[in-house]
């Protein structure tokens, strides 16, 4: 095994063993606490250009199975693990994690003390990191010089509209860095789906006569998003059922005058209990969240809080008082994650069907 190094912006050096591609890589580092779903996490566009640390000690036992892809190929710039599984016995796999990363020129590093690294990252917050052959001054200089992009949506959203045909309701998905799980879920309802780029105008969307609109999840800082999108949300939330997920939830909040603030400790995992306020029931869901709704800014708004994270009290879902428009911060598409979290999809499709039948005015 080739020795390589993970270096952090603050000067820390973690020696480890190389796997995947031998490339040198840079990106923002974060840790993910999920016990399953490494492939979905690596291919989720929300982690575009980032370096992921898995706290689950052994990664790779399920190999790579294309049905679990959330995009074509990995979105992350690097993968950090404690121990890389050398054997995978999953009958659905088409290759190993090592081969997959090699194919897409993404480096990995194993034999890292991910527990220590995670503790360190919890204290310092996310920072820039690099996987390199030699941790010398030059490597650190390059890392310091790295400028993180604020054009994440532009880089991950589809450049042009496409259709995922079905025989059911006419659903439009606005792509802010869409993951496949959302489309897979809509397939379950045989929805006729049109995916539109983030830059779609109000007229272009209205021409499609949607029965419902989904604001997709996606990467980056919600405050960097072009203001036109917020105008579009404001316009359509009064007209058709609207459902925001992840970044889509954050944009739905912004469009309604609610503030978003960066989180002290980001949520990347599926181990937080979330309470549905109306029924007082607990569910678990995959979370990927660096920003949260500022609760004080929500007080005088026309919104109901629908879901709350019980670990730190972060708001996980809101719903408009006057319109059938709502959003959740967590991932309801259950890829990866518990299917109990997929209820919001059912709620949304019910609203969509009501509108189609004319029950919703």
């Amino acid at each position: 095994m080739t020795r390589r190094y993970l270096i952090l912006q603050d000067g820390s050096i973690y020696p480890g063993e190389a796997f995947g591609a031998p490339a040198t890589t840079f990106g923002e580092i974060f840790f993910h606490t999920a016990m399953t779903g490494y492939q979905e996490i690596m291919t989720n566009p929300i982690y575009h250009n980032q370096i992921v640390v898995f706290t689950m000690p052994t990664i790779g036992v399920a190999g790579i199975n294309h049905r679990a892809d959330e995009a074509i190929g990995p979105m992350v710039k690097g993968v950090v693990v404690r121990s890389l599984a050398e054997v995978s016995t999953n009958r659905l796999k088409s290759m190993s994690l090592h081969e997959f990363l090699k194919r897409y020129n993404v480096p990995g590093i194993a034999q890292i003390d991910t527990r220590a690294l995670t503790r360190h990252l919890r204290e310092t917050g996310t920072q820039k990191a690099s996987i390199v052959d030699v941790p010398d001054e030059h490597a650190f200089d390059q890392l310091q010089a790295l400028v993180l992009s604020n054009q994440q949506i532009q880089q991950t959203s589809t450049p042009r509209a496409y259709v995922n045909p079905g025989r059911g309701a006419n659903v439009v998905v606005l792509d802010f860095g869409l993951k496949n799980g959302i489309l897979r879920k809509l397939n379950d309802y045989d929805a006729n789906v049109t995916v539109l780029p983030f830059s779609t105008s109000i007229d272009e969307l209205a021409n499609l006569d949607p029965d419902g609109i989904i604001l997709s999840s996606g990467p980056g800082n919600p405050n960097d998003v072009p203001a036109d999108i917020l105008e579009l949300i404001k316009h359509f939330q009064t007209q058709v059922p609207l459902f925001g997920i992840g970044l889509g939830h954050e944009l739905f909040a912004l469009a309604n005058g609610i503030q978003l603030v960066p989180m002290q400790t980001e949520h990347h995992g599926m181990n937080h209990p979330i309470r549905e306020q109306i029924t007082n029931q607990i569910l678990y869901a995959t979370q990927a969240q660096g920003y949260q709704i500022d609760a004080t800014s929500l007080k005088d708004k026309n919104m109901i809080v629908t879901y709350v994270d019980l670990t730190d009290g972060a708001i996980q879902g809101i719903r408009h008082r006057d319109y059938p428009a709502f959003s959740v911060q967590f991932f309801p598409d259950a890829s990866p994650g518990p299917i109990e979290a997929s209820q919001p999809f059912e709620d949304f499709m019910e609203l969509v069907e009501d509108r189609r039948k004319g029950d919703l005015s």
């Binding site: 306020q277 109306i278 029924t279 007082n280 629908t306 006057d322 209820q343 059912e346 709620d347």
Partner: protein, 172 residues
């Protein structure tokens, strides 16, 4: 043979949905009262009130409406049943009338007569858990949990935990 067509989980979701729709349609819950038609309508109304309490931290009064004296299908003797007064004030309120099953509409007609004898509400909306069709009067529900198309020879039974020990909707 009874066959379960809505399980406890789906029943809870339907009530959740009705609750959100009530908030949406009434633009909030100011001045709202719930009136449940005895027996199961009262418990369903209570479930909706609990949900509003969870969400908005507001206690919505729930009244119990006994409509026996107002029925048109019970013959002579029952007409003598004393008309019961509602235990809540409905004057000028936005009333959500709640029942388990909407069928011919005759129960709701009777309930409206009973309501009017108790005061003058600002608005009356109707919420039902199940709408099974076959209306004999010009009545429709504002909030429907489940639309279940039935034949008139079938029977729909709504079970609620408080009375029957479990939540479900069955067809016989």
């Amino acid at each position: 043979m009874a066959k379960e067509i809505v399980d406890a989980m789906a029943m809870q979701r339907a009530l959740t949905r009705i609750t959100y729709e009530i908030i949406e349609k009434n633009k909030g819950i100011a001045n709202l009262v719930i009136v449940g038609i005895k027996t199961r309508g009262v418990y369903i109304g209570q479930h909706i009130a609990n949900r509003l309490q969870q969400l908005e931290n507001v206690d919505i009064p729930v009244g119990e409406l006994d409509i026996s004296a107002y029925r048109d299908d019970q013959g002579e003797p029952l007409a003598a049943v004393t008309k019961q007064k509602l235990d809540i004030n409905i004057d000028g309120k936005r009333v959500i009338l709640v029942d388990d099953v909407l069928y011919t509409g005759r129960t709701i007609r009777a309930a409206m007569d009973a309501l009017m004898d108790n005061g003058r509400p600002a608005v009356v909306n109707l919420a039902v858990l199940v709408d099974r069709g076959h209306r004999e009067l010009p009545i429709r529900a504002d909030f429907v949990g489940k639309n279940i198309p039935t034949s008139s020879s079938e029977r729909i039974q709504v079970n609620v935990k408080e009375v029957d020990g479990f939540d479900s909707v069955e067809i016989q």
